[in-house]
């Protein structure tokens, strides 16, 4: 039994954090190892959720320069509620600052997902939906862009590499004026990259197709009819609205998007009762 007793004591001392001397030595060893590995990890550290949030706020402010905000309380509340339900069914239900939805006072058909969780939908896009389920389909697509961090991925890699070199240096525990100026410049460039992608260039085809497929999952998970995504896309094609700009400019061909999701639409049995209620509350507010 003695043979068991002594190893038990030793095990306790090692794991129990009680022996500061032994533990400090072990800790110092790990710290020395981390000093070496830090240099190689700096460039690899991803942008944190908190950093994504600050970038997203600046992106939102930039978008609001071009598109005025529509201050319609009830409609904003409604869009926020639909969006929040979907976000809670996404693979990223929480972001650092949460999801927020706002309407832009523009007839252009468009929607923008700012990194971190703010989603804009234009009045024109909102009016293109004919049911709550279709509105949900539009918002689900934008939530997927946030969840997949598509905005963040549009930042030039060299910017973030440069930023991590400044952030990671010991001297930068508190930023000096020069470091702050450098970081602000990198921040500004990153915001430009994202705004260009959102407003001018658009995401890559793969990102758009993946966002559509994820939207189907969020919709069916929430109890919305996933067919609504196909319906709203088909209406965009048939109406020809927005073909001169807006979402048509920044997204792949709508017919291609429909083909991309057709096989993946989950089969659901839409209960006409709740569907009618949802359409009723949508129509009461929008039409």
């Amino acid at each position: 039994m003695r043979r068991l007793f002594i190893p038990a004591i030793l095990l306790f001392l090692c794991i129990g954090h009680a022996s500061a001397g032994i533990f400090d030595s072990i800790q110092k060893g790990f710290d020395m190892m981390s000093t070496t590995s830090d240099a190689t990890q700096k460039a690899a550290r991803p942008i944190s959720d908190e950093e994504e949030y600050y970038l997203g706020r600046a992106v939102a402010a930039r978008i609001l320069q071009t598109y005025p905000l529509m201050k319609e309380g009830k409609l904003t509340e409604y869009v926020n509620t639909v969006g929040t339900v979907l976000a809670l069914h996404s693979e990223k239900p929480y972001t650092y600052g949460g999801y927020h939805f706002a309407i832009l006072d523009s007839d252009e058909m468009n929607a923008f997902a700012c990194p971190g969780g703010t989603i804009f939908i234009t009045k024109g896009m909102l009016m293109s939906a004919s049911t709550e389920d279709e509105l949900a389909a539009i918002l689900a697509h934008e939530i997927a862009h946030i969840s997949h961090r598509d905005g963040i991925s549009s930042i030039k890699k060299s910017r973030w590499t440069e930023a991590t070199a400044i952030i990671g240096s010991k001297a930068a525990q508190n930023y000096g004026p020069q470091q702050l100026s450098q970081l602000t410049g990198i921040f500004e460039g990153s915001v430009d990259d994202i705004v260009k992608t959102l407003v001018v260039r658009g995401y890559g085809k793969t990102q758009e197709y993946d966002a559509d497929k994820a939207a189907l999952i969020y919709l069916s998970g929430s109890g919305y009819n996933p067919e609504a995504l196909k319906d709203v896309l088909e209406r965009m094609v048939s109406s020809g609205k927005g073909s001169e700009g807006g979402i048509m400019k920044t997204h792949p061909g709508t017919t291609d998007r429909i083909d991309n999701i057709r096989a993946d639409i989950p089969r659901t049995s839409a209960d006409p009762g709740p569907l009618g209620k949802r359409t009723g509350r949508f129509t009461a507010l929008l039409h």
Partner: protein
């Protein structure tokens, strides 16, 4: 005598196992909540903020069962990280910190950088952005909306 040794050894082994399994998670969202059950929209037991450290008692799917102050409940895995939020003791002593620790300690693109950016761009309306972020959907209105529309509880 043998039984005394056996009891003592068992005690130390149990204590060692408990110490090894002790785990904390750190809140990485600006604010969140420990909820009564491991589901969204269940009653809030206590509100938590970025950097709060919660003691984990168990895992249940995408949720952690946690203790915080005097409250026990659940928090979603998406709202926490298993890393530490504060700069470690090592960094305070002048040793290097890991890059994750630096991010969690608020380095990088942070309010200081935003303030500097705002200074360069006074034309940008951050007040409007604050207004958008200030809009909240309450748990009660979400629950009612879900029920009324025949939607699924998350």
């Amino acid at each position: 005598m043998k039984s005394t040794y056996r009891i003592t050894a068992s005690f130390f082994l149990l204590a060692a196992a408990a110490a090894a399994s002790a785990e904390t998670v750190t809140v990485i969202t600006r604010e969140n909540a420990v909820r009564e059950d491991c589901r969204f929209l269940t009653p809030v037991k206590i509100k938590v903020s970025y950097g709060d450290q919660l003691d984990v008692t168990a895992r249940e799917g995408d949720w952690f069962r946690v203790k915080f102050r005097n409250a026990k409940g659940c928090i979603h895995k998406n709202a926490v990280t298993e890393r530490t939020a504060a700069l470690s003791e090592a960094s305070k002593k002048g040793y290097s910190t890991t890059s994750d620790e630096v991010a969690l300690a608020g380095k990088g693109f942070n309010p200081e950088v935003e303030k500097s950016y705002k200074g360069k761009h006074p034309e940008l309306d951050f007040n409007a952005v604050d207004g958008i972020e200030g809009y909240r959907v309450t748990d009660d209105s979400l629950k009612a909306f879900i029920k009324d529309g025949g939607l699924k509880q998350p």
